[in-house]
Symmetry: C2
Subunit: 228 residues, 2 copies
């Protein structure tokens, strides 16, 4: 049994919780292997840490060996705190410091572990309590509630001919983001699928009057809402 004193959770713990949270939410495998991959750490290290998190007081995850992990209420709260900081910082870097949206992630990845609650509040206020980060990901509010629009769908599922608006571009590799940014595929932009290859799902997409060709790797990461 490990007690919590008053220090914040370590940077490492924060990362584990954050990754477990995202994997869960996106139905990605929350396996030792999957976590190890995402955290760039060896599987054995993940096992160690999960055991530790399971013994925390208060408990942060429910872990049973060989049967996976899930976050407890407390663990999820902490994960959301980290995510809120991360996305607020991204928004700041983008809006205020003029970062391109493909650069914000890595910087936020560091800062999210370091800013104080006071900084978080002041920053949120300065930014006007933003609800989304530059990629369109929702920013949990002060009470850690996440507004999620259920009506958005991946571009890969948008029927041919329907007009839609980009809502979210899920962080992929930096180069991909950089490219999508260049061609103007940001949240808010109108798009339409002109043609879709029924075999592999590859799509011809109209963006800003220009026609682009995307594989499912891209269209699966771009989320849109269908225009009325």
């Amino acid at each position: 049994m490990i007690s919590r004193k008053d220090e914040p959770f370590s940077r490492s713990i924060q990362n584990y919780l954050k990754v477990i949270y995202s994997h869960t939410r996106e139905n990605r495998p929350v396996s030792t292997l999957g976590l190890a991959e995402a955290l760039d750490v060896k599987p054995a290290s993940v096992t160690n840490m999960l055991q530790k998190l399971d013994e925390f007081e208060p408990r942060l995850v429910n872990y049973q060996k060989h049967h996976g992990v899930s976050l407890t209420e407390d663990g999820e709260k902490e994960a959301l705190r980290v995510i809120r900081r991360h996305r607020l910082i991204e928004q700041f870097l983008y809006e205020v410091l003029g970062y391109s949206w493909d650069r914000v992630h890595s910087e936020a990845e560091e800062l999210e572990h370091v800013i104080s609650p006071y900084f978080e509040d002041r920053l949120a206020e300065f930014l006007g309590e933003p609800a989304f980060d530059p990629h369109g990901e929702p920013i949990p509010n002060r009470d850690l509630e996440v507004t999620q629009d259920e009506s958005i769908i991946p571009l890969s599922l948008l029927p041919v001919g329907k007009k839609a608006v980009v809502r979210r571009v899920t962080a992929g590799p930096q180069e991909l983001l950089a490219y999508l940014g260049e061609i103007g595929l940001h949240p808010g932009k109108g798009v339409e699928v002109v043609e879709r290859n029924p075999l592999d799902g590859t799509s011809r997409v109209l963006v800003d009057g220009m026609e682009k060709f995307f594989g499912v790797g891209v269209t699966g990461a771009v989320f849109v809402s269908v225009a009325e």
Copy 2:
């Protein structure tokens, strides 16, 4: 011999270099004991670290057991980098996020180790390449040059009756800074010593039309330049 690869120096190393630099510059004792005190670490730990810094490649300090330390060129450069980040961040917190000047230090103390060179540049640009932080401490420029005004003196040495302008309020305990802030004793403010007790140096000082009473603890930490 310890080689440098490409990682940044550890947070701990950055702190040691920063403290050695400041102690040197302010003629405070750069002793094992003094550093331990400033770093909130035991003397034995300081000895360990100094030995390590002395073996770095490139060497960061010159250290001879029982005979003190000093920074090498490389060590000083790194210290100035940390200090530049620290003061830029303080200025940001104060000017942009609306921190009170007694709160900026502790937050900057963390962030200084985490922001990237790119962040530093963007921030400096956003702030208009400021030359001073909220306490009036000079911010090293991009080339790490520090503009130091030689003509400033501590308020404790300002002759009675001479008008002067506050230039710098050296960080003391947070409560002191908070108090000085409240009574308006910021850089830029005009002051005058009305009377000084020749025994202990205690001074009656005119600030903003109000008369205040300060011991040398305060007047030694407030630096002014005499008005022409």
